[in-house]
Amino acid sequence: MDQFTPLSATVGGALIGLAATLLWIANGRLAGVSGIAGGLVPPRPADALWRVLFLVGLPVGALIGAEVGPTLLPEIPTSRPALDVGWPVLIAGALLVGIGTRLGGGCTSGHGICGLSRLSVRSLVAVLVFMASAAATVFVVRHVIP
């Protein structure tokens, strides 16, 4: 249980909720990352720039968080996260995330943070389905295949 980090998780989650609240009450838009990225195609030029700026903000904020975080909370390590999968799995996973979030109309941020906060039943169903299929996938990869 040494890997359980409740403080940084709750604080970070609250910041994500704050960011989603800001985009809603300022811009009237839902902070669903898959929807904001997906909405760039088919292209609608007048609707594109805010999407790009939000998406560019994500790695900018994450870089700041990775630098500042460890000095604020001891739960946050200075080491950078890394992917631990082979290329075929990475490619399949990326395509499934892209196709699935477009078909299902949202991801962990849109259905998860925004949808659940708005008490959307559709989003609750989506969250339960993708949590279940993700957990089943991890179970197979970690406990069945090896």
Binding site: M1, Q3, T5, S8, A9, T10, G12, G13, L15, I16, G17, L18, A19, T21, L23, R29, L30, A31, V33, G38, V41, L53, F54, V56, G57, L58, P59, G61, A62, I64, G65, A66, I76, P81, A82, L83, V85, L90, G93, L95, L96, V97, G98, I99, G100, R102, L103, G104, C107, I113, S117, V121, V129, F130, S133, A134, T137, F139, V141, R142
Partner: protein
Amino acid sequence: MNGRPLALFAAALSGIVFGFGLAVARMTDPQKVLNFLDFAAIPRGGWDPSLAFVMAGGMAVGLIGFRLDRRLAAPFVAAAFQPPTRTAIDLPLLVGSALFGIGWGLVGLCPGPAFANLGTLAESILLFVALMLVGSWATGLILALSVKE
């Protein structure tokens, strides 16, 4: 909205705070996400409940934040609130969410953390984001065509 500097500033600021929150919550770490999704570890020990606390923290703010619109005629820097147009619980929602979950469980990255990790400039992250966008955009174009016909 492109012509409104304040709206663009708000979108950029929201993205930055969102990315900052993801890094602080450590949801940019795929292993940490997978350690939450590994529910078989609950009886065996070593399960990491952190992601549930991220959701709880986000909803604690969001449940209040998303209600503020009731006090506003319009968003601060845009013409109107744009809630989701789709509300039905239909087959695309179920199939799409199931497919997304498989991809998420395979790699440990969902769209937010995938973009947030772009700053590492790792080849694997660049490829993941590129293919994720190809999957989303191709699906969007196919869906748009099927609606028109």
